[in-house]
Amino acid sequence: MSESLPGATLLAAANLTKNYGNSTALAGVSLQVRAGEATAVMGASGSGKTTLLHCLAGIVLPDAGTVRYSGAAPVEVSSLNDGARSALRRTEFGFVFQQGLLIPELTAGENVALALMLNGTPRPAAEQQAVAALAALGLAGMEGRRIGELSGGQAQRVAIARAQVNGARVLFADEPTGALDSRTSAEVMALLLQSVAGTGRALVVVTHDPEVARWCSRVVTLADGRIVADTAEVAR
């Protein structure tokens, strides 16, 4: 999979609007996510930051507006059907959630290998790659452990390995350090940033924690479904 040049636009959202009943989650948000960039999306609870992440990743469809992904074959995410969006998330995007949301019955290695198997990689090769991905994140020799046998930080590393193992171009993280202590949070953020620094990949982190946002190269702040601050705009 060829990577985009750092600075090239990977995701472009234009005028995104999303309502849930009478409540407006997004009110005309436009945002570009660039390769090599780590973007923190901040805002108070209910400001629309998770909805923005879901729209960018094609998890939910906006009521109005578009999301364009400039991968190997550029596509308009918001016009794809459910199956095509699932395939896009499986092959091009990676996800890390607050509680890891790993499959408790599987071992750490199997959790990572599963992401590859879903894309058609045979199991032996998938498990081999999973072991290497875990080792790269400091979990060498832990591939056989069940998720319940890992600490919160270790489980989150497994989630990061799972998100990266397919060579995802865009990594989405929703409150990835929300359940961790400050030292482990710093370790997890360092690992997430490591995967985008100087590469053709991008990281989008939804957080309410200013400490987490400080790690990122760009901070976008939402309020009432609108972008009210963007450090990238200030820099320009």
Partner: protein, 453 residues
Amino acid sequence: MSASGAVARAVDSSPWAVPLRLTWLLNRPGTAGSAAALLPAASFAVVTTLLLTVLAGALSFTQWGDDEGNLYLLLAAFALILLVLPLLTLGGSAARLSARRRDEHLSTLRLLGASARTVRQVTVLEAAAQAFAGALAGVLGYVVLAPFVQLIHFRGAALGSAYWLHPGAAAAGVAAVVVLAAVSSVISLRRVVISPLGVRTRADAQKVHWSRAGIAVLIVGLCVAGLMTPVGAAAIALAIIFAAFAGGLAVLNLVGPWLVARSAGLRLRRAATPQALLAARIILDAPKAAWRQVSALSMVCFTAVVAGAGAALLQTAQSGGPEDFLIQDIMTGVLITVIAGFLMVACSAGINQAATVLDRAELYRSLHRMGMPRDVIDAARTGAVMQPVVLVSTASAAVSGALLFPVVGAALIFNPVAMGFLAASVAVGILLVRAGLAATSPVLTSVLEADAH
């Protein structure tokens, strides 16, 4: 002091006072009403209808009062015992579903300072209340079925008005359903953790020791030896046959989880697809639960083997003697038990899967967000149930065949009529469980689509 005042004071001072008030607060008319709430109640209604129907049939045999009548009563008691395990399984499933359905309420109660014990009491009370509501509807079902069941013949005559239960017996049946639901909910809740942060099922992997297989072989040996021992009195012979079959069922429940775990272990090594890997791991994580979910099917298959041999015997028997009625009536009873058992298993499988999907809603949703197709999730959860189902059916048929062999001989067991009856029963059982799973497909869809609008 007025009687109502005394009752109110007694309730207030009872350790159940707070759970009772909380249960009412959470379930008073207008607060519940989702499909997930109706599912357990509807299942208990089916169970009660079946239980009362079988009970009514059994008690109608008291009208004769002769030796043969006593034999009929004994056989009917055996049929009732066969229905207890499916009922217990169903009660446990309903309790789990009840806890999942109300998880936000229950974890909020914990957050507000309610003890784990109080929250468990609330859950048990909810299960009991659902069972009670369902059981009342079940009584109605029993009455509606009456005109049809009254036409069934035993000892050459229709059941007729003898079918009607004494109100006390019906009340006892309802009470039994409620108590069994409460007891199985207590057992089932041991694996559920209700914390201030949410409700989840314990994820510790269960280990199943191989010694279960050794003990099982020993019991089968004792049963077969008992069946091959010549005895004089018919009552003793019958007692030995019952004991042997009870032993056979015990064997199945002892060895079942071990067999399920072994089979899943083999499948895990061979798993080449995500769904196969997931299904095998889900079973291996809780082989006892995987077995328990479908173990009631073992009873039904067991009974079906007996019914198959009975059908073959009927075909070869000479007509005319009173013993013809006995064989024919045993067949009728066995058929009723098989049908009741199948319906309970299907209800149990459906309700269990609804609880499981809700249990894992957040995980399924996240996997779907990451791009895991719905079909893969569906295939994994289906495989985790259907693989044990096939094992249960095969193992039950094999063990019951082995136990029946010394009694009726190979000719009857392998008779085409017997084999056909067994094959049809197993096929219907498997299809019913599959239908139960398919019925929960909308629950999975609603969970996955919760944020996809």
